[in-house]
């Protein structure tokens, strides 16, 4: 793990989109929170980033660990509480580049599932309270980490880039759990879209609101930055014009036909 280079994408994009706004004090180095603007409206941006000095050794590479889950929840709930009496609810942008959830004994001992639930709860509650919540995937959006940080957003946007990846589990572990070789697993990912690791296959599932082309996802050019900013603003307006605060907008793809069929039949038989 020490040889693996730590991704800077979350930090880089958070900094770019907030025009280097100062980070909110009181959060650990692995959770970056900045208040800036989305167009002419105030917005809170949140990223989970690698911290090689994280006191929890299994959460040093940009994983969402115990502290990260609860601190993200705090960052989101601060906005919800502050705006509770206001008509206009601030936008919340989750800048997503999360390697995975933290895998470790400490994590299980202190209930990492509960920490991730806290973050997912905060985002879902913000969405239900009327905050436009946007998930911007700039790198990896893996498994439990993505469920905690971003998957509850009203709209998901991803960069079209080879290092942008959404998945339920890393290849080695997925192969072990399903009793397959990594080669077999890769053969299936080519034929079964939901098993694929790349963002184009993911886009075919209808879960993304927009897939954006950029020239440099590691060090965005000013044109890249403008592309993403514009998309965030259009997403904001799209959420505002949508009477639903739920996640129905993700159900339209032909690859999710079964999800739609199940809901239709449940409704017919519900009494």
């Amino acid at each position: 793990m020490s040889t693996q280079e730590l991704s800077k994408r979350g930090a880089v994009w958070l900094d770019a989109l907030t025009y280097s706004a100062p980070l909110q004090a009181g959060y650990p180095p692995s959770v970056r929170v900045a208040d800036a603007r989305l167009g002419d409206r105030p917005a809170r941006f949140i990223a989970v980033v690698p911290d090689p000095d994280n006191p929890f050794p299994r959460a040093r590479g940009g994983e969402v660990g115990l502290v990260e889950g609860w601190e993200v929840a705090r960052a989101v709930r601060e906005v919800v509480d502050a705006d509770s009496k206001r008509e206009e609810k601030r936008a919340i942008v989750a800048v997503i580049d999360v390697a995975s959830q933290a895998y470790g004994r400490r994590e299980e001992a202190y209930g990492i599932h509960q920490a991730l639930a806290a973050a997912a709860d905060a985002y879902a509650s913000a969405r239900l309270a009327g905050h436009p919540v946007i998930g911007l995937i700039v790198g990896r959006a893996m498994s439990g980490a993505f469920l905690a940080h971003g998957y509850q957003a009203n709209r998901l946007i991803a960069l079209a880039d080879p290092k942008v990846m959404v998945h339920a589990m890393g290849k080695e572990s997925a192969a072990r759990v399903t009793l397959r070789s990594v080669a077999d697993l890769e053969a299936f990912t080519a034929r079964v879209p939901p098993m694929a690791y790349d963002i184009d296959n993911y886009a075919s599932l209808g879960l993304l609101w927009k897939l954006l082309s950029v020239t440099n996802a590691d060090a965005p050019t000013s044109a890249d930055q403008t592309t993403v900013e514009k998309a965030l603003q259009v997403a904001f307006d799209d959420i505002r014009n949508d009477p639903s605060r739920g996640l129905e907008s993700r159900l339209g793809s032909e690859h999710r036909a079964a999800s739609a069929t199940v809901r239709r039949k449940l409704r017919e038989q519900w009494r």
Partner: protein
């Protein structure tokens, strides 16, 4: 439990998902939605050479509990480890959405989820993950109107994205047989090494993630015997109590305070976790 009680009780763990749902609902009120004869199966397993199951391992049962409208969502741990595929997860998410809609129309439908699951079905990977996010959304929505009760009875327990779903429930009930944790032992061992977590060391695994310890550490509300009547009684008692003042996942300040008391420089022990989390989590 003494010998006589043991002989007289009906095991909940030994019941399949359908019988569990039937047991929790008021007698004679069980009615299944999208039952196996409708054959809504996984569209993804067949093309990978895996046999499907007519209900995709998921039972949606409507009826009443304590006279009130209820839906019981029973995961069948016997099919693909209770994993969440597109269809099985949509049965849960769609039911929670309809239950919330009922409440907005003045019908007080409540939900019980029987967690017997390893989490995402990896053969349907991203569609399972997406649907689990929709289950999370459904719980958080419905929970605003009625308690959502989670039960993990065993033997599979509750893992992965569904352990997060359990963490969102208003109340959680567990037995000694069941475990509750995010990452399965084999995956932790694969990712972090055998020194961090030995997936064959069952006593160690239960000492951290078994529901007895989860109850001691405040991560499970009711620790019950493997007795179908006792579990139904616990469910009714929680529904009668109504929504909690705050759900566990909302107790941000309390958990952050307790985490600040943990020394991350040393490996965790079950005793230390119980000593710190046993103090509770203020709002």
């Amino acid at each position: 439990m003494d010998t006589q009680q043991l002989l007289e009780r009906q095991s909940f763990i030994e019941l399949d998902a359908r019988s569990r749902a039937n047991k929790l609902l008021d007698e004679g009120t069980f009615s299944e939605l999208i039952d196996p004869f409708q054959r809504i199966t996984s569209p993804w397993l067949m093309r990978q050479g895996i046999v499907t199951q007519a209900d995709d391992g998921m039972v949606v049962a409507k009826g009443t509990i304590d006279g009130q409208p209820a839906v019981v969502l029973g995961i069948d741990g016997g099919f693909q480890g209770g994993s969440m595929g597109e269809v099985s997860a949509a049965k849960i998410a769609g039911s929670l959405e309809l239950a919330a809609e009922d409440n907005r129309k003045g019908i007080p439908t409540r939900a019980v989820i029987l967690f017997e699951t390893g989490g995402v079905r990896l053969q349907e990977a991203n569609l399972g993950l997406a649907a689990i996010a929709e289950i999370h959304a459904g719980i958080v929505d419905l929970r605003r109107y009625q308690p959502v009760i989670g039960i993990t009875a065993g033997p599979i327990g509750c893992y992965g994205g569904m352990s997060i779903a359990a963490g969102l429930c208003s109340y959680l009930i567990g037995t000694r047989e069941a475990r509750l944790g995010l990452n399965g032992p084999a995956v932790i061992e694969q990712e972090a090494g055998i020194a961090e977590f030995d997936s064959r060391d069952r006593p160690m695994i239960w000492s951290f993630t078994g529901c007895e310890q989860r109850h001691r550490t405040g991560l499970v509300d009711d620790y019950v015997a493997d007795d179908a009547d006792a579990i139904r009684a616990a469910v009714i008692e929680r529904f009668r109590a109504g929504r909690p003042e705050a759900c566990r996942s909302e107790r941000v300040a309390g958990f952050l305070t307790r985490l600040s008391e943990v020394d991350p420089g040393v490996q965790a022990t079950p005793e230390q976790a119980a000593a710190i989390y046993g103090k509770g989590f203020q709002l």
